[in-house]
Each structure stands twice: as C-alpha cells, then as structure tokens.
Symmetry: C2
Subunit: 96 residues, 2 copies
C-alpha cells in the first residue's frame, strides 16, 4: 500500500536536529523523498507497522508530529506535482 508520510520535527535545539536527521534517514530506507519532509512509501502492512514503530520511537511526541496518509490503490491518480524536481538528498541543503 502507498503511504504518504509527512513530519514536523522541532529543530530549535540540537536534539531536535538529531531527531530530524534520524526520521529522514529512516524514511529514506523505506520510500521515496518527494519533498524535504514528505515521503511516499510503498509498504506491505507489516512493514508499515515496523516503520511506524521506528519513527514513533525517534520523535518527541510533545514537540514533533508525524502524519500518515493511506493513498490507496489508485494513488498515482491522486498525486500532482508542480515545480522543482523531487528532492532526494537527505543531508542536502534544507529546502522547506
């Protein structure tokens, strides 16, 4: 199933910056980075459970958030992209 994952990680301190890197790295392992904090991940249900557990163990739930959008079988028809190409470099220039 296609799951869109978006996150906000509060990077006002070094711990937050570390969490942001860890969340991004984990998402890179499972899917395609389409924007800086937006990933599209084609996952088996068991993988999704695993990824959720991993991400939720990284974030600080008081400061950060994760959103999952189940895009369903027709996900390709649901997506439209405008502008610069997808960003793939997890450690590259911060593009918000």
């Amino acid at each position: 199933m296609m799951v869109l994952i978006t996150y906000d990680v509060n990077t006002t301190d070094k711990e937050g910056q570390k969490r942001l890197r860890r969340v991004a790295k984990k998402c890179v392992d499972y899917g395609q980075r389409v924007q800086n904090s937006v990933f599209e991940c084609l996952l088996e249900p068991a993988q999704f459970v695993l990824l959720k557990n991993e991400l939720e163990s990284i974030i600080d739930t008081d400061k950060d958030s994760l959103r999952y959008y189940m895009l369903g079988a027709n996900w390709k028809r649901r997506v439209e992209h405008v502008g610069a190409k997808e960003t793939y470099d997890p450690e590259g220039t911060m593009v918000l």
Copy 2:
C-alpha cells in the same frame, strides 16, 4: 473535495523566504494547517483551480515545488496523526 497540499520552498535567499510566507498565507486562506508545510483544504473544484493558479504564480518553479494529493471522499479514514498537535500559526516558530 479534500486536497492535501505540501510544499517545499527554497529559502536560501530573502526572495525565497518571501515566497514561503506568501505560499503559507495563501494556503491558510483555503484550509487547515496540519504541519508547517502541509495543509488540508476542503475545496470545491473551482476553488481548487483558483488556489492552484494563485500558488503557482507565487512559487519559483525552478527552486520550489508543490504537491497536491486528492484524498477523495473517505479522506478521514486515510489520515493518522501522531505526536504534537497540528500547527496553525503561519508566522510562528519554524517547525520542520
């Protein structure tokens, strides 16, 4: 229809920072901010066309990107949120 809008605006210069503010402000007019660069907008088809035109006139398509996800009628069942509450303040602390 429910449209999820995500954006990356390159803020390495002042023009980019201005574009980011303008994109955020425009999205606030049409929907609910659920993360810093993620909005859920319940739109009539004509409104969606208008919003797209407005956003695409603001961004620099060489540097920035917009993605639209049509979440369909059952959008509430497609969304899962974990962690800190949705962010609503368009000018607040930058939360990535």
